[in-house]
């Protein structure tokens, strides 16, 4: 969202800067008694606004569009941002170490990738749970599930997170 905000800031900042200067220039042009526009051909817009009532469909639709855009923008900025980093425990009070959730998922996937019978892995890490999906072609994967759980648990514990998410292993059987 920060990246989107940055792009919006650059675009709207440039539009505001240019628009504000042009608006002031057009006003000065009008105050000097000169007819017509300086740069912005606003006469067409003014004519359209004179020809349409507040209750006309295009004006109501434009109002609805502006209101929806404003609501979306407001909600996007007011809602707290997702905390994508999980904090690693540290003995030094001056040091805060964090690791991206995606990185936690990758570590767990790597930890179980070498287990015989594992054909593929996928992970989804939240603040409270990490779901590790493992694909296997084994007919009886009971022992595999235990091995995967042990290795993933050890890898998760090895990261030393302040609040490690709960591990949930999901074994998916596929035909060889």
């Amino acid at each position: 969202m920060r990246g989107v905000d940055r792009v919006l800031a650059l675009v709207l900042g440039l539009v505001g800067l240019g628009g504000g200067v042009l608006l002031a220039a057009e006003v000065v042009q009008g105050l000097l008694g000169r007819t017509g526009h300086l740069v912005v051909p606003y006469e067409g817009v003014a004519r359209w606004l004179r020809e349409h009532a507040w209750s006309s469909a295009p004006v109501v639709a434009a109002g609805a569009g502006v209101a929806v855009a404003g609501l979306l923008l407001l909600v996007a900025e007011v809602v707290p941002r997702r905390r994508t980093l999980l904090v690693v425990a540290s003995d030094d009070a001056d040091v805060v170490t964090a690791v991206a959730r995606s990185g936690v998922g990758r570590t767990l996937e790597q930890a179980v990738a070498g287990v015989p019978g594992v054909d593929g892995t996928r992970s989804r890490v939240g603040r409270r749970t990490v779901r590790l999906t493992v694909r296997t072609a084994l007919h009886d994967p009971a022992d595999l599930e235990r091995q995967v759980h042990e290795r993933a648990s050890a890898a998760l514990a090895g990261l030393g997170l302040v609040a490690a998410p709960e591990l949930d292993v999901d074994l998916q059987r596929v035909t060889a």
């Binding site: 905000d5 919006l8 800031a9 650059l10 709207l12 900042g13 440039l14 505001g16 800067l17 628009g19 200067v21 608006l23 006003v27 000065v28 009008g30 105050l31 606004l49 004179r50 009532a53 507040w54 209750s55 434009a62 109002g63 609805a64 569009g65 502006v66 209101a67 929806v68 404003g70 923008l73 407001l74 900025e77 007011v78 994508t84 980093l85 999980l86 904090v87 540290s90 030094d92 001056d94 040091v95 805060v96 170490t97 964090a98 690791v99 991206a100 995606s102 990185g103 990758r106 790597q110 990738a113 054909d119 593929g120 892995t121 996928r122 694909r135 090895g158 990261l159 302040v162 609040a163």
Partner: protein
């Protein structure tokens, strides 16, 4: 250790992040208010007679002060927009540190030189692929931000201990400070395992 269990990613432009949120939220609020007002007028909630009026009534008398006020508003919008654009380039980076010598003199240390040396030290730690560092805060109270990309061939906890132990101790010594608040972001590599199709 006390503190949050989860964090938002660090940024080198915290001022811009804050300003963008506030300005965009205000813009959103203004758009919402404007849109709702148009809807109320158009749907006749504020009077059926008003709803049938043209948005820009033809021949309506405009008070003499209107256009100077509009022009001033344009200048204000341009000035605020220029400030908003300038804010985007401001970082919290500490470019130079002024260190007090024992004999009362001062030594100016380039922040980039120190962070480059730190990056090299961190990259020399087994299991580290790449490191980037920057300093923020003040000369008297600097803060260090470290981003460490791991290779995936070493225990992340061991790398963490080495970086926060040995390397930070050397950084504190170089900066001549007892405390150096540090934020480390460990970047774990993409899996070398087989991913699901």
């Amino acid at each position: 250790m006390s503190g949050p269990a989860a964090l938002a990613p660090a940024t080198r432009t915290p001022g811009a992040v804050r300003a963008n949120r506030v300005v965009l939220a205000v813009l959103g609020l203004l758009l919402l208010a404007g849109g709702v007002l148009v809807l109320l007028l158009g749907l006749g909630v504020l009077g059926a007679a008003r709803a049938d009026l043209a948005v820009l009534p033809p021949g309506a008398a405009v008070p003499g002060w209107t256009w100077p006020v509009v022009g001033a508003a344009g200048v204000l919008v341009a000035a605020l927009s220029a400030w908003w654009l300038v804010v985007q380039s401001r970082t919290d980076r500490l470019a130079r540190l002024r260190l007090e010598d024992a004999d009362g003199g001062r030594t100016v240390l380039e922040g980039a030189a120190l962070t480059r040396a730190l990056e090299e030290q961190v990259e020399a730690v087994p299991g580290v692929a790449r490191a980037s560092a920057h300093l923020s805060g003040t000369s008297a109270a600097p803060r260090l931000h470290l981003r460490v990309r791991l290779t995936g061939r070493a225990d992340p906890a061991q790398v963490h201990r080495t970086v926060t132990g040995e390397v930070l101790a050397q950084a504190r010594a170089a900066l001549e400070v007892d405390r150096l608040p540090t934020r480390v972001e460990l970047d774990l590599p993409r899996g070398t395992g087989r991913t699901l199709a």
